[in-house]
């Protein structure tokens, strides 16, 4: 009976649509450029260059002219140029997904990504026009990573493994279930992201971010250990679980270094110093990777768990699943 249940679950979650290598590679490219954009954004904040270009949507009065890239302008305008490119990639990704992907929810996911990048651009503009208010700047930081996660998931959902693999369903009787744990991991990471952004943008003290780091460490360690003990035979779960654990350890170390360089040693610094810039930018970048990896783990765990959800594909698009 469990075998039948597993087989049924596997069939329900198999996508049975052809893999499109070009579309998948484009999604991976879009995710990579988005990661670069997050680094560029972190460089703007770390170098205190957020208002070095005082106008928006123009830069020094022009929509297309590249200003002299010195001082803070180098960071701010580069960030704007990469952001424009990501916006352009998102339009292509949304249109391509809408036209080529038979999964209705994927069409919506592509449009969601486009909506998020537009909202993100507007938030970025508002930070400039309202002189970096902590709430808007933090929302800009949080939405950046949300958009990154969505594009990473589009890359996963268009990948060969997702498209062609028959999911091996593994039952999980322990409570809370691994699906619950992965969702809890995303929640605590998201709270951590907001607390970190609020601290970085002078809206909150450092200690809520540091206290929540302990909660994040416990929840993520619990999730990854459960995933590795129960799903170790499934590559699609084991890999993100190991990656998540490694990234979490790296992130804790980077957080400690960022705290030392910026809070403990750098609070009287007369300008942003290289150690504080490098450590905080790396902390933001690894944080984005950690959140995206946890999101990937969550969808992979869902896919390999007996959860009563299924991917809906219009019957006319459904093709036989390869054995």
């Amino acid at each position: 009976m469990p075998a039948l249940h597993n087989l049924l679950g596997a069939l329900l979650k198999a996508t049975a649509i052809p893999y499109n290598r070009a579309r998948h590679r484009f999604a991976v490219f879009a995710a990579s450029v988005t990661f670069l954009l997050i680094i560029a954004g972190a460089l703007v904040t770390s170098n205190d260059a957020g208002l070095s270009v005082p106008d928006w949507p123009t830069s020094f009065g022009s929509l297309y002219k590249i200003p002299h890239l010195v001082g803070g302008v180098k960071f701010e305008h580069t960030h704007r140029m990469i952001a424009q490119f990501v916006g352009f990639l998102s339009i292509i990704l949304a249109v391509w997904t809408w036209r080529a992907d038979p999964r209705r929810w994927m069409k919506y996911l592509g449009v969601t990504a486009l909506g998020l990048v537009i909202a993100q651009g507007i938030l970025g503009g508002l930070t400039v026009l309202f002189y970096l208010p902590p709430a808007i700047s933090s929302a800009h930081a949080a939405l950046a990573q949300t958009f990154f996660c969505v594009v990473v998931l589009i890359a996963v959902f268009t990948g060969r493994t997702w498209m062609e693999e028959i999911p091996q369903i593994e039952s999980d009787e322990r409570r809370p279930s691994l699906v619950t744990l992965t969702l809890l991991s995303i929640l605590v990471l998201y709270v951590q992201l907001i607390l970190g952004a609020m601290f970085r943008h002078h809206g909150l003290s450092w200690w809520p971010h540091v206290v929540n780091a302990a909660i994040v460490a416990i929840v993520l360690a619990w999730t990854s250990i459960r995933a590795l003990s129960r799903y170790s035979a499934i590559d699609s779960v084991r890999r993100p679980a190991i990656t998540m654990l490694a990234l979490m350890i790296a992130q804790l170390c980077l957080g400690f270094v960022a705290f030392l360089t910026r809070v403990a040693w750098g609070h009287d610094a007369v300008q942003p110093e290289l150690p504080m810039v490098v450590s905080t930018v790396a902390h933001v970048a690894v944080g984005a990777l950690l959140l995206a990896t946890t999101a990937v783990l969550a969808v992979q765990v869902w896919r390999h768990s007996p959860v009563a959800l299924r991917e809906h594909i219009p019957s006319r698009e459904r093709k036989p699943v390869a054995a």
């Binding site: 170098n47 208002l51 005082p54 002299h68």
Partner: protein, 259 residues
């Protein structure tokens, strides 16, 4: 709920947001940073008799070893030439520079004419000259850029309106003023993050900023009991009471200690 009702609600929400934004902007304008020509000067009250006017002067000192000045790295902009040291605490032989000294209490409801001459902030060598400026509310400030690079001038006040404007090399001076009193109002350049200065805005003309020798002098005060405040950007504020009789010329020194 049908689509028309949804559409009407969306339009109403949008109008509400726009109204909120425009209201905020009006509020900002009321706080004002426009040149003093747009600020209605309050009528001056009973004039001070020059024959009885008193003065107060003194030296501000710093006890203990002065912190070593931090050298600023300006390599990210080749147009920023010369040496630049942080001016957070500038103490020479125990004499503390850049301390804002003003009459905090004792002048009652007196009002004073705003000087017609503008005071100047100069951006030269990718640093502000002076590092600490004092002006009256509504007094014009002329901001110049003598560097071969673009700066942006960005005050981050608590009580006045915030603004952020760029100024290319050889551009015409920018004229601004602050409508409300504010002590140690930070001004920075986001293109060159080490560039910081402070503007002090008060309603009276009785203020001074200590020079490199730590000295200050405030002239033309009517006889009376006053509280003098000494404010340093990092070390904070200290006060002293002083009583001035007609034609008095008193010395009031003040000492700061390392934190």
């Amino acid at each position: 709920m049908n689509k028309k009702i949804w559409a009407a609600m969306c339009v109403l929400c949008l109008l509400g947001v726009l109204a909120g934004c425009s209201k905020k902007e009006n509020t900002n304008e009321e706080q004002g940073t426009s040149p003093s020509s747009e600020v209605k000067p309050a009528p001056a009250s009973a004039p001070i008799d020059p024959a009885t006017a008193a003065s107060v002067s003194g030296t501000v000192t710093f006890a203990g070893a002065a912190p070593k000045g931090q050298k600023i790295d300006m390599s990210q902009d080749a147009a920023c030439k010369g040496n630049n040291m942080a001016e957070t605490i500038v103490a020479n032989d125990g004499k503390l520079a850049n301390v804002f000294v003003y009459v905090k209490e004792g002048l009652g409801d007196r009002t004073f004419d705003v000087p017609k001459d503008a005071t100047t902030i100069d951006q030269k060598g990718c640093r502000y000259h002076p590092h600490v400026l004092a002006v009256m509310t509504g007094q014009n400030i002329e901001i110049r850029n003598d560097d071969e690079t673009t700066h942006n001038i960005h005050p981050t006040p608590k009580d006045n309106r915030e603004w952020n404007e760029s100024q290319p090399p050889k551009a015409a001076p920018i004229e601004k003023s602050f409508a409300r009193e504010e002590i140690m109002l930070p001004v920075k350049c986001n293109q060159h993050p080490w560039m910081k200065m402070y503007v002090n805005v008060v309603k009276t003309p009785f203020f001074a900023v200590t020079g490199a020798d730590g000295k200050y002098e405030i002239k033309g005060l009517p006889p009376g009991d006053y509280t003098l405040a000494f404010v340093q950007e990092k070390l904070g504020e200290q006060t002293q009471k002083v009583t001035l009789a007609a034609k008095d010329s008193k010395t009031v020194d003040q000492g700061f200690k390392a934190e």
